[in-house]
């Protein structure tokens, strides 16, 4: 707290307005140019819009204070806000890759799958009649545009002859679906795009065409994908984007049966516009 000279502007109010409108503007620009998806799950975007609006409106209510000078001003609290705000505008968002964060291991399976209770996120198909109601009613509303994509592909997936083409929008859906219904998909052709993720634990012919899954925000990113066996896996550099075509097979991985892709064709692919995938 300092004694301010008798300046005619209330710095305190000015800083409040600067911080509030600065963040509101930052949020607004992110939503406008779509870069918001580098930071948060699309589900959070409406909240971000709301936040931007609330901050802008709140800033308006402090305008009338600007010309009421205050004798004492404590600027320290505002520094906490100004510094991140400066970084927000100065440093562009980075699309993270597998080397960026100290990730643990890629999630290639879930041991907790109950054989009898298959696929809760699956839509109303014949096999999931035992799935409780919530999956159909509550969740289809909240998954907005993605749900239609899942629905279409979900129905396509029922055709046992058709190859499984894993799109960006339903990446996590397919991952879970194939994990939980391994037997059903065994032998099916699959096409998936992802970046090369290798773990120390993998053999020389193993890699995962992985995607980073964002549950809420960038802080919880984790690589997910199906294990892939490919003779020339060792030659694939980490983080290159690939399109893998192959056959799904249940394989033995460290004493556990998990679904894997036996790659037939591996070709370079373009990095997708949105590198992240979302569980819901």
């Amino acid at each position: 707290m300092v004694n301010s000279p008798w300046v005619r502007i209330n710095l305190d109010a000015l800083l409040r307005i600067a911080v509030l409108s600065g963040f509101a503007l930052f949020f607004f620009i992110l939503v406008q140019n779509g870069r918001i998806l580098l930071y948060v799950n699309p589900r959070i975007v409406p909240y971000v819009k709301f936040g931007s609006l609330v901050m802008a409106v709140t800033a308006l209510f402090f305008i009338k204070d600007v010309f009421k000078p205050k004798r004492k001003i404590n600027i320290t609290p505002y520094l906490f806000f100004l510094i991140p705000l400066l970084f927000a505008f100065l440093l562009p968002a980075k699309s993270l890759d597998s080397t960026a964060m100290a990730f643990g291991d890629v999630e290639i399976t879930s041991r907790n799958a109950n054989a009898g209770n298959s696929g809760a996120v699956v839509l109303q198909n014949s096999e999931t009649t035992d799935t409780p109601d919530y999956s159909a009613s509550d969740f289809t509303d909240s998954t907005d545009s993605d749900s239609t994509a899942i629905e279409e592909d979900g129905t396509a997936g029922l055709d046992p002859a058709a190859p499984v083409i894993v799109n960006d929008a339903d990446f996590v859906y397919w991952l879970q679906e194939i994990n939980y219904n391994m037997e059903k998909y065994e032998g099916r052709e699959v096409e998936v795009t992802g970046f090369v993720f290798k773990s120390k634990e993998f053999s020389h012919n193993e890699f995962v065409p992985a995607r980073l899954m964002m549950a809420c925000c960038t802080a919880d990113l984790q690589p997910v994908g199906l294990l892939c066996r490919y003779d020339k896996a060792a030659e694939l550099p980490q983080d290159t984007w690939l399109k893998v075509t192959g056959i799904i097979k249940a394989v033995d991985y460290k004493g556990e049966k998990i679904p894997a892709i036996i790659a037939a064709k591996v070709e370079e692919a373009k990095k997708p516009d949105n590198e992240y995938v979302y569980p819901y």
Binding site: V54, K72, I75, L82, P84, A102, A120, Y134, C217, A219
Partner: protein
């Protein structure tokens, strides 16, 4: 150029010793040598000692109800008496800011400069006045340079210390003078000497920071274009940290805003008695209401703390508010939905999570019911003052829906700044953890069930993921840890993590926060250990 008239203001309530200070001051030789004008705004028991005025260039004036101390009055004094200094004995119940505004008026600003503001406090009546006239008193304390505590000789040390802490909370920079010779000291000339202590210039500080940033930014661009290898790598690491940090902020800000808005609506619109009556009188029902309220509150952990703090301030029993605060982030619809998504086909996990969360929240709530907090646990004071929503200072001034809406937003804005900085520190800490610490570091620790549970609870605190994504992160541990330990992660995570801990510190006293954290951790551990063992057997 002619020297500006130096204005000193002495504030304080009736009987706090303002006139006594002025009398002491008049004995001071330096004062006697300069032409001085004393303005008194009220007449107390002590009068200005006439003998001191005789033969000296000192005039006095008195502001009563008839003549206001407005621009015209001050200008009149300056024009007719041309004093070198003015000493104002301010009316204790008047607004100091109003007086200061007079001196900022363009016509007066040319001639006068406000030098020092001294606030006098009578130790005996301070607490009483603080609770009755809080707004006015806080305003005076906030604007003072010196605070003199009078009559404090026979006061217990504890009470005095508490008082000083309250003063510091309102005004960090003021010098507090507290001893038997307080009045003598106050009259010493260095206090009143012109420009004692160098005033800092906030504008300059901010300009410096901006310039420093600009310099760093330009340097980084220059280095990047020059293509210096190592700098690029460092920057990318930093950029990652920055992205993660901002993502936590972007994700948490809207929820914090919801939290402070709800808190402000409660503060401004719902009268305290009514809110308290919404919670059942009987303690048992109060707990149930707290948990049910949690089910209806679809927000994450960051928003709940300001709301809970507001409930406590409004008089809701602490144990009810604590139960609500701990249960809400776990039992709310968003969190339940995310658990169902994270564990497809296993709704039982979501059920157990809610069940365990409610159990822990209740246990902590009951503990605070049996061992209630005696002292004040919420932070306000300065916060209330700096709020300026027009409501916290004087809640009779708010009328009509328009005024209320304005008050809600101004109050929310003030609270946002108060809580937000803790959130920012928390977000920074957790983003550093996210970027630097591999998640499987916890898996490598391994160990027996008890150890696993402890590790998972620790991981929940350190990783600080949002309460809506706890379930997804929790799932990744399922291969290395027993489900019971992972449950520990998912139950404790929404209740307490680094980010949340700092937000708590922004709303409650340190003592209470540490007590809460301790009780929560111990009880959560015991409950999880016993109940998850039973559940694992069932599963």
């Amino acid at each position: 150029m002619k020297m500006k008239t130096q204005v000193d203001i002495i504030t304080g309530f009736l009987g706090s010793g303002k006139t006594t200070v002025i009398n002491k001051l008049l004995e001071n030789e330096e004062i006697q040598s300069r032409r001085t004008f004393i303005i008194q705004c009220e007449m107390g028991e002590t009068a200005i000692d006439g003998s001191l005025l005789q033969g000296k260039a000192i005039d006095t004036g008195c502001v009563t109800r008839g003549n206001n101390m407005d621009v015209k009055y001050i200008l009149g004094i300056i024009k007719t008496c041309q004093p070198e200094r003015i000493i104002i004995e301010h009316n204790g119940t008047g607004s100091l800011e109003q007086l200061l505004e007079v001196f900022q008026h363009r016509s007066i600003h040319k001639y006068c400069i406000v030098n020092k503001i001294i606030h006098m406090i009578d130790a005996d009546t301070f607490e009483l006045f603080m609770s009755n006239m809080g707004g006015i008193l806080t305003e005076q304390i906030f604007n003072s340079d010196f605070i003199v505590i009078n009559n404090s000789c026979d006061m217990e040390k504890d009470r005095l210390k508490h008082m000083e802490r309250a003063l510091k909370a309102i005004n960090k920079s003021a010098v507090i003078i507290n001893n038997s010779e307080g009045v003598e000291l106050a009259a010493q000339k260095e206090i009143f000497s012109e420009g004692a202590g160098k005033p800092n210039k906030p504008l300059e500080t901010i300009t410096m920071i901006f310039l420093a940033f600009a310099a760093v930014y330009l340097a980084s661009i220059a280095l990047r274009t020059a293509g210096t290898g190592p700098v690029n790598i460092d920057l990318s690491r930093f950029q990652t940290l920055n992205t993660v940090f901002l993502s936590i902020l972007i994700q948490a800000f809207p929820f914090i805003l919801i939290g402070v808005l709800v808190s402000s609506v409660i503060q401004v619109i719902i009268p305290g008695e009514k809110l308290v009556s919404l919670f059942p009188r009987r303690t048992g029902l109060g707990f149930i209401a707290a948990i049910l309220a949690g089910f209806l509150f679809p927000v994450c952990d960051c928003s709940i703390v300001p709301v809970a703090a507001r409930l406590v301030k409004k008089g809701v029993p602490l144990h009810t508010a604590v139960t609500f605060m701990l249960a809400a982030p776990l039992v709310n619809p968003l969190s339940i939905a995310s658990t169902l998504y994270a564990f497809p086909g296993q709704p039982s996990i979501a059920v157990y999570r809610v069940f365990l969360g409610v159990a822990v929240a209740l246990a902590v709530g009951v503990t605070f019911w049996f061992f209630p907090e005696e002292r004040k646990i919420t932070i306000d004071g300065y916060a209330n003052y700096s709020c300026r929503c027009g409501y916290c200072m004087d809640n009779t001034a708010i009328t009509g829906p328009k005024g209320k809406v304005e008050a809600v937003f101004r109050h929310a804005g003030a609270e946002f700044f108060q809580v937000g900085r803790f959130l920012i520190i928390g977000a920074l800490l957790s983003s550093i953890v996210q970027v630097m610490v591999p998640k499987n570091i916890f898996s490598d620790l391994g160990g027996g069930y008890v150890v696993s549970l402890l590790i998972m609870m620790l991981a929940a605190f350190v990783l600080s993921v949002c309460s809506t994504s706890d379930a997804f992160i929790g799932r990744t541990f399922i291969n290395q840890f027993p489900i019971g330990a992972v449950m520990g992660f998912m139950v404790l995570g929404p209740m307490l993590d680094i980010k949340n801990f700092l937000v708590l510190l922004g709303n409650f006293s340190k003592r209470f926060v540490f007590k809460l954290v301790f009780v929560l951790f111990v009880l959560a551990f015991i409950i999880l250990l016993f109940l998850t063992t039973i559940i694992t057997v069932i599963l």
